[in-house]
């Protein structure tokens, strides 16, 4: 699988097994694009500690 360095596929977690296209060059827009690590990173921030009312135990969903 050739992934062009200018393609979104370069950072997409589905790139290796993606069934949408075998042409991974110059993909600049994709509905299935997913950089899963971001979502995991965001989970750590569901509790927003720098707001004083977070101490009351309120939780905020990531937007």
């Amino acid at each position: 699988m050739k992934i062009n360095k200018k393609s979104l596929c370069r950072t997409c977690v589905h790139a290796i097994v993606c069934s949408l296209t075998s042409n991974k060059k110059f993909i600049w827009s994709c509905s299935e694009y997913d950089a899963e690590i971001i979502e995991n990173a965001n989970l750590k921030s569901i509790l927003i500690p720098n707001f004083s009312f977070a101490k009351s135990g309120k939780e905020f969903k990531t937007i």
Binding site: K6, V17, S19, L20, C30, S31, D34, I38, T62, I63
Partner: protein, 434 residues
């Protein structure tokens, strides 16, 4: 300068262009030739107004400082403030941003919006940064952009790896740089904000609803009822899901879906809502959905159906795929899913293609509604928003159809003709300063 007057041909050094930018310029040049675009206006539209590259420092969680490279390209603002997304990605470069900015100018012009075209972003792999770092990066970039963006000047929106949270940070940072008495009137510096912070109800479905509407308008024009018509969708993301949702509501039957994980079919129909629920519990994948069977990915576009919705990515319907297509209409929910060669084959076969620039413009129209809502200090309800979207899409669709039929050209060419002619008209009316 008289814009109507013919200009002397001037020998210019051809700039080497690559990839996406080259494609966008080719599309523009062929449409410009077709309408015999005034050469002076062609010169104006062939270049970007402003290209901003910013290097800015941000302190990381470990105390180190990293320098980031951010872009904002403003192509044209003849019709109104620049409008376009911000993407965070390591592959971003000035040529890609320029191409996407130009594309936005055509899109907003065709949609009849009071906007120009822009695009921007940061060269960054966001997966390598914590959420607090991303917040500081976003806020510092906003500060560095300064008054190069603004609610009446240039209005960013979400794109790849940016979302409503990113927009909320930008709005907050931008507003914080203004006098207290002026802060609240700057909320519309970005669109795509969270609903609680000035965002629009139903923004999530705006693009998909727009795709559905263009199919419905075409069907009405052809005196076809969508009830019991079969359709296939490539991509079950936001656009693919909402398009399928509205088509199913109209009585049409989903018979094939393809996503990153595989392709599923069922001639008897696949329940759209059930499939969405299934994907939520199956790591986002459609594969394994009950009452469906998996087929080879290469067989997807050849499935027996009436409507084909490529809503995933570009260059999917190629010259090899085009002869296999059974659908009588292709609604381009994605950007650039049909290649030029494939389009020629399909048009010859009598397949209608609703072009991306028209088909997926519900998103930018939704952004316009959010901007208007904030600007006028109003809060619109979902029903009202969908009604307005319907009215706007109908206007644009009808215009494209009329031009397509009267000039005997395909809908894509008609869409480009309309977009460029609107800009031409504006320049002819107002001239060029001084």
């Amino acid at each position: 300068m008289n814009l109507i007057q013919e200009v002397k041909p001037k020998k210019q050094k051809k700039q080497p262009k690559q990839g996406m930018l080259e494609n966008v310029m080719k599309q523009f040049e062929s449409a410009a030739d077709l309408i015999n675009l005034n050469p002076n206006i062609k010169k104006i539209l062939s270049v970007t107004n402003n290209e901003l590259i910013i290097h800015f420092p941000v302190k990381m969680d470990n105390g180190d400082v990293e320098i980031f490279k951010g872009y904002r390209v403003q192509h044209n603002n003849a019709l109104g403030p620049y409008k376009g997304g911000l993407r965070y990605h390591p592959t971003i470069d000035i040529d890609a941003v320029k191409a996407l900015a130009i594309w936005m100018t055509w899109k907003t012009s065709l949609a009849g919006l009071p906007y120009g075209g822009a695009k921007g972003g940061i060269e960054i792999d966001p997966t390598k940064y914590s959420i607090t770092e991303l917040e500081r990066i976003t806020r510092r970039f906003t500060y560095a952009l300064g008054d190069n963006i603004g609610p009446e000047h240039d209005i960013p929106a979400p794109d790849v790896n940016t979302n409503s949270q990113t927009m909320a940070w930008i709005a907050d940072t931008y507003m914080s740089t203004k006098k207290p008495s002026e802060r609240s009137k700057n909320q519309h510096v970005v669109t795509g904000k969270p609903i609680g912070s000035g965002g629009l109800e139903g923004r999530d479905r705006a693009t998909g609803y727009g795709v559905f509407l263009t199919i419905k308008f075409w069907a009405d024009h052809e005196n076809i009822k969508l009830e019991n018509k079969t359709f296939i969708v490539q991509g079950f993301g936001n656009v693919g899901y909402w398009t399928a949702h509205f088509l199913e509501k109209e009585g049409a039957k989903l018979v094939g879906v393809q996503d990153a994980f595989g392709t599923i079919v069922n001639k008897e129909g696949i329940g759209v809502e059930n499939l969405l629920e299934y994907t939520k519990n199956n790591h986002g994948s459609i594969v394994g959905f009950s009452n469906s069977r998996e087929i080879a990915k290469g067989d997807f576009f050849g499935l027996d159906c009436d409507i084909c919705v490529p809503a995933a990515l570009g260059n999917q319907i190629t010259e090899n795929i085009a002869p296999q297509i059974k659908a009588s209409i292709i609604a381009e929910g994605a950007n650039g899913p049909t290649t030029v060669e494939a389009e020629a084959i399909l048009l010859k076969r009598g397949v209608t293609i609703i072009p991306d620039i028209l088909c997926n413009s519900g998103g930018v129209i939704g952004s316009y509604f959010e901007w208007l809502q904030n600007r006028n200090g109003e809060l619109w309800e979902l029903d009202e928003i969908l009604e307005r979207l319907h009215k706007k899409m109908k206007e644009v669709f009808t215009k494209v159809l009329v031009v397509s039929e009267s000039k005997k050209i395909d809908m894509r060419t008609a869409a480009y003709v309309l977009a460029i002619e609107r800009l031409e008209r504006t320049y002819v009316q107002r001239g060029v300063f001084p």
